[in-house]
Symmetry: C2
Subunit: 443 residues, 2 copies
């Protein structure tokens, strides 16, 4: 392989407009690129995947409710009609703010404005053993991995004679009581209660535990008391064991040990306990908050780092209303991107910019196949209506008419048939002689 | 791991009925299991995957027209309402006809009747180098691998400066002029002509060759002259280079060498040139024809091997009408399975059996997005009507209402939008620290 860091990224058309390089095509990066589409900039959007991933529905891929393609959107397609946005599948190593250059695995490129929007990855809080054995869910691939792992566990459990020996394969433990953990737990409980017993009549699913572990005193910490209480009530009704105020000490792939409580046998520990910002080289220690987020001003500019911006999960903007920064959610990323897009266009016109002001549109989480909790600015509600609201909001947020249509049909089908019927253990074929399933089972 | 060959496969319910073990859940194995559903047998269906694969549409998965799940059907679901069919995901090593026992990677099991229906795998005719570098397409996983490889080639090509150096990444060579090769070539040409230029405006797709290589003098050898001629005409019109009477000598992953012709640069050699039966241990040399197919009588019984049968692609049944055996196609597999099912039930009742009689329902192949060739017993036709016939027949043959519905919608969408929009390079996440993409690129 050539050393790409020393060659310029080829095939970028010449342009007289200022060059905006955006790193990451998550909610923030994609929104900004779309807002700058056909505006007086040359926009180069970089991502390690060639598709945008709709994170709020990862848990449905993991629990066989949706196919990966339904919640992944090809980035090139978004910009078919654009004259100024260029996409490249690339991994960024670092940038050099002195010469305004970004170095990637496929070549370097120069920028006038650089936007860091790499998002966040799973945070194991320093535990190497948990990182090695637990399953994270911060990408479509990871969600698919979880699905394959769970199906493969049952296909294995059925060949084990004693019920006692099957426990660890059947139990699922989820760590983290945020929306991801709550939604995963609810969907897993639905699978156990309604789908798996039909597929594996030989196994007794009363023996299968689904445990949701949260270090704090409540589920869905930032939501209203009504939402927290209802979510807990719904999960208990679905048969999820909820353990609050519980710290995970360790996990070796077979047993989770807890602080002050009995250990739980499981081959499947789903880790949704925390996130940490993705980092690239180029910034100094002073640019980061202690939690690794990049400090930005109310224009999303990185202090002392001219023409470099950070958006969404990687950034930390302290404001009067949010002295510790905004929550790391899609809405913040989208709104920050929108504000930065506006400011860049204003500056280009020689007009004034405006500081970011977060408009909290509320939050919601679904629990199982027909309940949810919703906190809107002026109203809070729970139950079936909340669930319908959740469905509608997420369907509308999905990019593309086809994805919307197919997800709507999938959801309708699953709801009416009570049977996702996506329980396919499709082993990705990799290189010859290497069976990924074996690699997986080596874990 | 325990040595499973020495332990009995657990959790098989006790039954007083004769035990039929079926190896392979392709067209033949699945059909037989369905025909024996709720009949006086205990049926144990074994397959290395937990889903049935609809082979005729693999090429659409490879060319991003359909998702893997659309043409894969979970086997456990098929038997939800059965009282006597048990599925196990297992790989069979061998069987011992003296003690009537099958040995698998998850335990052994005893049979009264054993049915070999393992199907066929890719045949490289002894070339190790081609086997190492070419891409086969005999499973959904392999089809998905081809799709990822092709998309990844373009994502790489775009980062190469000189058009000359991109050729090998852009060209696609398909070997084998049977229906698979013809359908792949047509679908690839459609992608090149209509979809890829929109996604990669920087690349010049006039430089991309699609070459279809066939060793014999015609495409679609067993079909009518009208079908052959039309298929060739349609492919040429789509811009496919068709090379007949051409033998592939070698392939090193970058260049295909041909006998007596100039070599072709390509990173993508799709090998659809031949198949060979999948073998398991337990039979003697005398049971096989020189081409590796298992010799059976007109009852699908293996000669001198009581209560062991072979169906479909693995078998060779010489009859008056088919002195060299039947073609290795889905219809033969399905009809043989039907006949064996009937005979097993008849024998059980103490009634007479009947020999297999193949009813040729005709054959068809599609070329690109709106043309096909169809040979039915009493009529041959080509063109758009043939294409509509092809669509209808394949849609009806697909298992399950949901799969039918979703494929129908996918096809309608793709036809109307001229844009499959499934161009997602979703890298399967395997074990930590191992990036399958890297493995793939090492090839």
């Amino acid at each position: 392989m050539t050393d790409h860091s020393s060659t310029v990224l080829p095939n970028i058309p010449k342009s007289n407009y200022p060059k905006v390089v955006i790193i990451g095509a998550g909610f923030a990066g994609l929104k900004l690129a779309r807002d700058l589409m056909n505006k007086p900039f040359q926009v180069i959007l970089l991502d390690k995947n060639n598709y945008h991933q709709f994170q709020p529905l990862f848990y449905q891929v993991a629990t066989a409710g949706l196919e990966p393609s339904a919640i992944s959107f090809p980035l090139r397609k978004v910009f078919h009609k654009s004259t100024n946005v260029i996409f490249r599948m690339a991994e960024v190593d670092y940038f050099d703010q002195k010469i305004k250059r970004v170095y990637t695995n496929v070549g370097y490129l120069d920028y006038d404005h650089l936007v860091l929007a790499m998002g966040a990855d799973t945070n194991y809080f320093g535990s190497k053993s948990i990182e090695a054995a637990a399953s994270p869910m911060k990408s479509v691939s990871e969600a698919l991995f979880i699905r394959n792992k769970i199906i493969s566990n049952y296909e294995r459990a059925i060949n084990i004679e004693k019920a006692e020996d099957r426990k660890a394969l059947m139990n699922v433990v989820i760590v983290g009581g945020g929306p991801t953990g709550v939604e995963l737990a609810g969907a897993m409980a639905d699978l156990r209660n309604n789908v798996l017993p039909k597929d594996y009549p030989e196994l007794n699913f009363h023996n299968m535990k689904i445990v949701l572990i949260e270090a704090g005193p409540t589920l869905l910490a930032p939501m209203s008391k009504e939402a927290k209480d209802s979510a807990l009530k719904y999960l208990l009704k679905l048969g999820v064991e909820v353990m609050l105020d519980t710290m995970v000490k360790n996990y070796d792939g077979k047993e989770v040990t807890l602080e002050g409580k009995a250990p739980i046998e499981t081959h499947t520990l789903l880790w949704a306990a925390g996130i940490k910002p993705v980092q690239i080289g180029g910034l100094k220690d002073q640019h980061f908050a202690p939690n690794g987020r990049i400090l930005v001003n109310e224009q999303s500019e990185i202090v002392d780092c001219p023409e470099v911006y950070a958006l969404g999960d990687v950034s930390l903007m302290k404001t009067e209303d949010y002295p510790n920064g905004h929550p790391q959610v899609a809405q913040v990323a989208l709104q920050q991107a929108k504000n930065l897009g506006f400011n860049l266009i204003q500056k280009q016109k020689g007009k004034g910019t405006k500081p970011f002001a977060y408009k909290d549109l509320g939050s919601m989480a679904t629990v199982g196949r027909k309940l949810a909790v919703v906190d809107l600015p002026f109203i809070k509600f729970q139950g079936v209506m909340a669930w319908l609201t959740w469905l509608f909001v997420h369907l509308m947020a999905i990019l593309g008419v086809k994805n919307k249509l197919f997800i709507f049909l999938d959801w309708s089908w699953n709801y009416l048939s009570f049977d996702p019927s996506l329980r396919l253990l499709i082993k990705p074929k990799i290189a010859k002689g290497k069976d990924p399933q074996e690699l997986m089972e080596e874990q």
